[in-house]
Every structure is written in C-alpha cells, then in structure tokens.
Symmetry: C2
Subunit: 353 residues, 2 copies
C-alpha cells in the first residue's frame, strides 16, 4: 500500500494539494462543505495528518525546545534538583504549546550527533559542568540559555551566586563554633575532569562550574574565620547517593572525626546523614550537616541547607528561551538564595552552649 500524502487525497477528491493543506491548517481558506469532504476522504484513506517533519522544514519552526544534560538522561530523573528545574521549565513551555525534548547521551562521543540531530527551536544547557559541548550547541545557531554554568558572553544565563551562597553556609557552621570541618566536593560523573579539579587556585576558578564555586565559597569562609584550608578535610564525590555514601564514610571514619560536614548538594547531605545513622553518630549533637539546594525532601528531613529557587530557575530559563529579549545584551539572571536553618546543625560537642 502506498503512503498517503496530501497529494493522494487531492487526487481522490479532485482538488489541488494546496486546498487539502488548507483543509488541515487554515480552515478559513476554503468552503466548509468542501473541507468536510476532504477530511472525510482523508479519514477513509487513513491519512495520518500532515507530516510533522515536512511541516517543520517548511515552516522553519519545530515547536519544541531541547534540554541538554551532561550526564546520562536517566540522571535527569534521579536527581531531584534536575526534576524540580524541569518542572518549572515544562510549565512555561506547555503554556505556549511548546514541547520539551530531553537530550542526554550514553557516552560523550554521542553528544555531537545527538545535538546535531535534534529537531528543536532552541536549547537549554543544564549545568553541563566539565563538558566541552557548549561549542557544539552554539554551532547550531539557535537560541540558547545556559543554567548554572557556564557563563558565555552573549548567551542568556540563569544561575545563582554559588560562591557567596556556599560561603554563607560555611559561615553558619563556623559561627556555631565548629573547627573540625569536612567538605565534600561534587564532580560530574561523566565529566572529563582532571586531577586538578580540587586545586581552587588554578586560573579560571569560577568558570569551572557550580561544584567548584561552592568549594571556593567554603574556603572563603574558612579562611575569613581564621581556619586554614589545609586543615579542612576535603574529599570529593559525584552527586549520586551511593558514591556519596562511600565518600561520607571516608570522612566520618577519620580520626579525629569532623564535627561538621559541608555538603554541596542536599543529595550528598542525605548520604552523610545515612552514614552517620549507620555509625550511630547523633545529628546534630555529635555532628552537624548542612546541604545545598533545599530540594523537596530537605524540609521533611529537617536538613539545614541553602535554598535556591529551583523551579523558578526552570521557569526563568523557559521564558528566556521562548520570549527572547529584544535587548542587545543577553540577560544574565542571578537568583536569590537563603540559608534555611533546620535541625541538622548545632554547636559542636563540648561547646557548652
């Protein structure tokens, strides 16, 4: 059986292809009676409707935006920060009848092809920390907005001041009197990050993603409080519950044990809490833990953390993409953060407070 196209229907009804097209896409352009007949024949022939790829090609508009993830796509659904962001983005997209195409890849090599083949009107680059694919995306010459990282001249940006926010988190803990402080750095799983990742003094510091910026903020606070960075126990992990547990175990088994752990994401903080519970370490009596993000699970868990407006970041990114500003300069939105003190931080043991 031949494929049914506009032409098939046109031939059958005895009108031009144009008229059949109008019957589907511009009903006001033809007689109602004729239109009914055309749709009738289309239905009899099993016509699937105008071919979307052909339509997109001709119209020059796909009605879809692509969201690019650094990690494997499944990560997007495992991480509640990502999920919250997507919820915001999706809500503005659907209001303008725009679809959302999630783009991830099993291996970094596949990235080039997947990005090149996406039928979209624009891209949202979601924290592609450690990935050199910004260039690939820009090459498509479509509207782009980057989230969290990196800031590229001329490209709209949505993020927070990670360094300052992290500094405030550390200050909270230091103000409580903690001096045996441990820090966990998060690093992308799939990133081609090198050994020097923890070397904050390497040039380009703040351009290496939120993870390092937060680390730098912790250091700022420690040094301002007279605590040498070399005395702080620093370890690193990925933003994955299991890997984070292992790193947390390493930190909590140190002797002397830290009295406070600064976790750069809530996910990592939960892992620390898990391990502490296993070890019978009581929080916050024996150990203070502070997270970052304030994901939905943080409140019920009583986690002290730094709140960033996760879902709002998504809506903002969506608006920047869908309603590009007329200005010459690309907008750069820095959202506010708040320290949320709950029940996982307290003065260190023996502080006599």
């Amino acid at each position: 059986m031949e494929r049914v196209t506009l032409q098939t229907i046109a031939d059958r009804v005895g009108v031009s292809r144009t008229t059949v097209s109008n019957a589907f896409s511009r009903p006001d352009q033809l007689n109602e009676e004729l239109r009914r007949r055309i749709l009738q024949v289309a239905s009899e022939l099993g016509y699937p409707g105008p071919h979307p790829a052909a339509r997109t090609l001709r119209r020059g508009r796909a009605g879809v935006i692509g969201v690019i993830f650094t990690e494997a796509l499944s990560y997007a659904f495992a991480d509640s920060y990502a999920v919250g962001f997507l919820r915001g983005l999706a809500s503005v997209a659907e209001q303008s009848g725009t679809g959302v195409h999630l783009i991830g890849w099993p291996s970094p090599d596949a990235a080039e092809e997947v990005i090149g083949d996406a039928v979209v009107d624009g891209f949202c680059l979601f924290s592609p920390e450690g990935h050199p694919l910004v260039e690939t995306v820009l090459r498509r010459r479509l509207p782009v907005v980057t989230v969290d990282y990196p800031y590229v001249e001329g490209v709209p940006f949505v993020g927070i001041d990670d360094r300052t926010a992290a500094r405030r988190a550390a200050e909270h803990v230091l103000d409580l009197g903690h001096r045996r402080v441990a820090v966990l750095g998060v690093q992308p799983v799939a990133g081609r990050t090198n050994r020097d990742w923890l070397d904050l003094d390497r040039p380009g510091d703040l351009r290496f993603g939120a993870g390092r910026a937060r680390l730098a903020g912790y250091r700022d606070a420690c040094e301002a409080a007279g605590l040498a960075w070399s005395e702080v126990a620093v370890d690193r992990t990925a933003n994955d519950r299991e890997l984070a547990r292992q790193a947390a175990a390493r930190l909590l088994d140190r002797d002397p044990r830290p009295t406070a752990v600064l976790a750069p994401t809530d996910e990592v903080a939960f892992a620390v809490l898990d391990v502490a519970a296993q070890r019978g370490i009581e929080v916050p009596r024996d150990l203070s833990v502070i997270g970052f993000d304030d994901v939905p699970a943080a409140a019920p868990a009583g986690l002290t953390t730094v709140r960033q407006p996760i879902t709002e970041k998504g809506t903002t990114a969506g608006l920047l993409l869908l309603q590009p500003s007329r200005n010459d300069t690309a907008p750069c939105v820095l959202m506010d953060t708040d320290l949320i003190v709950r029940r996982t931080t307290a003065p260190p043991p023996g502080a006599g407070a």
Copy 2:
C-alpha cells in the same frame, strides 16, 4: 545574511551538493583531502550542520520517541511513579541513541495538535486514564506501546494486574483483623471523568484505568472477607499530595474513625500519614495505612505497600517500542507485584494481639 545550506558550501568549494552531504554523513564516500576542505569552508561560513528536519523528512526516521502524559507535563516530574518509569525508559532509549520527547498539554484541546506535530518514530502512552486520545495517537500510524491503560487490541501493552494486586493489599489489612476500613480512589486531575466513576458495576469496569481496577480489587477482598462494600468508607481524590490531604482529612474525621486506610498510590498514603500525624493519630497503633507502587520514598518512610517494578516497566516499554517484535500478535506484558509489609500496618486497636 543568507542562510547557509549545503548548496552554499557546494558553490563555494566548487563541488556538488551531494558531495558536501557526503562530507558530513558518509565520510567514506569522498577523498579525505576534499572532505577537509569542505568542512573547513563550512566552518568558515558558520554552517550549523545538516538541517535535522530536512534530514528526518528524507530519511523517514527521527531518532526520537514520544512519551505522552495525560496530565500537564509538569506532573511528570512531580510524581515519583512517573519519574521512575521515565528513568527506565530513558535508559534504554539512550542506549540506542534515541531521544525522548515528553508530550503533555495545558488543556485537553491542545492534545490533538501537539500529538500531530511531534517529530517522533513512535509513542509511549503513559497511563492516559480517562483521556480519549488513544485514537488521536493511533491515527499517526506509528508504533505505539500503552502503559497501564488502556489495553487496545493489536497494541503492545505493559502493565500489572492492578485488581489482583490491590486485592492482596486489602487482604493483608483484613487478615490483620480490620473491619472499619476506608478506601481512597485516585482519579486523574484533568480527566473527563463523570460522576459514575465510583460505580464499579458499570460495564467495562476494568477498562477504566488502574485507579478503578484497584478499587475493584479492594472490593473483591472486602466481600470475600464478608465485609459489605457499602460499609466501607469510600472517598476519592487525585494523585496530588494536597488534594489527597483534604480527602484523607475527610476520612479520618469520620465517626467512628476507620482503623485502616487503603491508599491506591504511595503518594496518597503519604498524605494520609501526614494528616494522621497532624491529628496525633499514631501509626500503626491507632491506624494502619497501606499504599501502592513502592516508590523510592516508601522504604525510608516504612510504608507498607504493594511493590510494582516501576523502572522495569519503563525499560520494557522502551524495548517494545525500539525493537518491535516480529510476531503477529502484539505483546502484552504483565509484570509481577509483591506485598511489602513494613511499619504502617498492624492489627487494629483492641485486637489483643
């Protein structure tokens, strides 16, 4: 500035359009030296790469599958059952270099257009309970797999035996000795469900989605245990934490208060637990609660529930779409479920156990 296409480059280099196309898509078809020159010129002209819509049109393959949600798209990221499913689906999709396009809509009216315009190679219909869009999807004449609901002759299906699984949940509670049992039914938020939704005897019972099938399973168990369905407190809600809280409050404020609540999703069960905690009702001493799904949050919360293999449903659906079976008959996969007894169910107060 003109748009740069294959032709622009071909003219500039002095070769045919075909050769330029080959330079990008079939490197073995031309001289390495010439290819380098072509790519060089392409880069100078700022060519964004072969146009994906044109490519899709010609090739007849998009490399993307669409997942259709009944509710607004943001729901997909708010519900952990949906998130788990997507994680599974995404993992098999990305292994074959296939993208995932999430499709939702603000209003039911928009559905037709959005589905018609999606540039995809197939659709996964995710529990479109109460929505009459199956027809719209089938009209596209693309591979389809439905999840949970509805089972359509000739269309691959992935689901569980909701009725039997729900029956086992109810039996667990009844076996513990409960007789003042309350039930919550979930109903899609945006569904065009009518007043008769709770009327389980209406014909077509099991074809009205997982929500009603679970309700029917609860009834089966109650009646088998000699408890008349009319004596069971039945209320309904949507699978939304806040709406579920309201429904839970209505149930728990009844006099006499139920000693057990059967919640047809874990999300609803959590709402019941919340409200119980607010009221100072101790679980499981004063109240037993059982959920359904075993979402990740269920284990830490100690929720007794019925486990279904959420993520595995996603991978199965993905495989059915991406590797269509050669058989004549459409596969219909029913996955296993397990009763997981944790710490929210116990004999009723005064049972003297």
